[in-house]
Symmetry: C2
Subunit: 332 residues, 2 copies
Amino acid sequence: MNELTEIGEFGLIDLIKQDTIHDHGTVVVGIGDDAAVLLPTPRQLQLLTTDMLVESIHFDLTMTTPWQLGYKAIAVNLSDIAAMGGTPRHAVISVALPATTPTEFIINLYQGMKEICREHSVNIVGGDTVSSPQGLVINVTVAGEVEPANLVKRSGAKTGDIIAVTGVLGNSAAGLDLLSVGEWEEYDFAWPLVTAHLTPRPQVKAGTILAAAGATSMDDLSDGLASESHEIAEASNVGIRLYAAQIPLSAELKQAAEKLDKQALDYALYGGEDFQLLFTMEPSNYEMLLADHPDLQLVRIGEIVETSQGVTLVDEEGGVQILEAKGYNHFR
Amino acid sequence: MNELTEIGEFGLIDLIKQDTIHDHGTVVVGIGDDAAVLLPTPRQLQLLTTDMLVESIHFDLTMTTPWQLGYKAIAVNLSDIAAMGGTPRHAVISVALPATTPTEFIINLYQGMKEICREHSVNIVGGDTVSSPQGLVINVTVAGEVEPANLVKRSGAKTGDIIAVTGVLGNSAAGLDLLSVGEWEEYDFAWPLVTAHLTPRPQVKAGTILAAAGATSMDDLSDGLASESHEIAEASNVGIRLYAAQIPLSAELKQAAEKLDKQALDYALYGGEDFQLLFTMEPSNYEMLLADHPDLQLVRIGEIVETSQGVTLVDEEGGVQILEAKGYNHFR
């Protein structure tokens, strides 16, 4: 099998260049010049987000295929654009590769990236390929756009708003635990959890619908529900009351938690990388949204309260506990 | 001294956030939400470029201060924007840091980044800080803008155009050699060369002037004159004839080359990271440009010829040799 040292940087760029442009009308110059040249949509705001994934910190090549890793490296950035109510448009990708990386590994890595970019009509318009003395590093930057009226920040939550999520929580963190323990393949419940961890689906379409429906604040659940609730509470200067009984947990998560001798709810609260959206909205708007979009898997999990009430969790017996900001820490 | 493990990701973000916005009118949301939100200039094209620097591949912490490294990590991206005729606007910065990195190192790294961003009114609007199991990795993405009429690609050079550069070449590569050999501090000639290597000055202002003056193609000299000449020749489907006697070499470079037992011209041709601009232009436009901008250090080094003539170098005795595309390889 060819190794990277044989094909070099230019050979690699030729491999990467194929099938990178899905929305030709917005790309004046793609890969191959000093910078990409892009045509913005008039009267939209520009969004910019970046994420770095480091081998043995953020991923383990014994647990993920290169295709899955490529898919996820893009997904985490699309999720950030979704959380602003925006639409992702263009990606630039930097990869530091050990010199012994097989060419096939690189092709599969980019295939995963290209697949999710195709799903979301995101163009890959540039990047940097460099060598790494040890370990793979991937950095993706995604540029997106949002209508000024649809921009949703973290800071707009108001007392009386509902707080809701776009789907089940905790699957990804439980999937990571299953991958770490190993021998998960024999359990049917494990597959959706492992899949949620390895190839998360960013809620881009839901994000634009929520924004248009009047979401007052929004965040993606990259760091877990507890941590992200605190982000919204702090940015919006409000308190948040969550109800444990309403937090959506999958049947598979419950089975896995039992197997792993863990609490399913803890995965939802303190696990991370679910990439569902957490949002707040006036109750009347939320009712209209539910009526208009039965296709979305929205679940109301609590409400916005006065700042002085802090961020709390009401347990199934009605007891109230303070919810700590601890959660998944990207800075491990 | 505090280490990174003590202050954590959020402490680090607080350190980084200060003094990041220089052009307040264009930033709706900077560091701190899921994505940056930016106000584009109407009727301009958007530019996007990214570069990754990996410790022990692209830099050696025994040869550079963290301040210089931060400065350079931004500079290389601004140079790419300059080479399109554009103006850099916003940067997002990812850094993977070993857990034992002293806080002071990180502060100095960002001070260097902030200094060059201040010089060019570039806003730092986001980023990602993660831990690294080994070695520092920095990825910078810069978004810029260009008037459609001023966009300069690599592909527009025409037979009969002159080809010119914005300043002396080879200083950076000679500076790197001096740093590698060591004990350069005693030589007066070494300082400008080492400085050219460690804190290169991107030619942003020159780039916009050249674009407005009608540059037909442009490239920054990140990989050396030979390699970049081939880039323009290939993209534009032309030949290029360069004159060795006209390539601008500094007196310091000549002294260093003698000391290092190397050819000064080789540094200009095959060294890299000068970050001067290489451009082509109709002769009449070039004459006007020279008259209008005596402040620029422009030097004509050759002309564009038919494709069939290839890329050649005319030596000081009038002999013609084929110029190979070899040069500085970022993919080391």
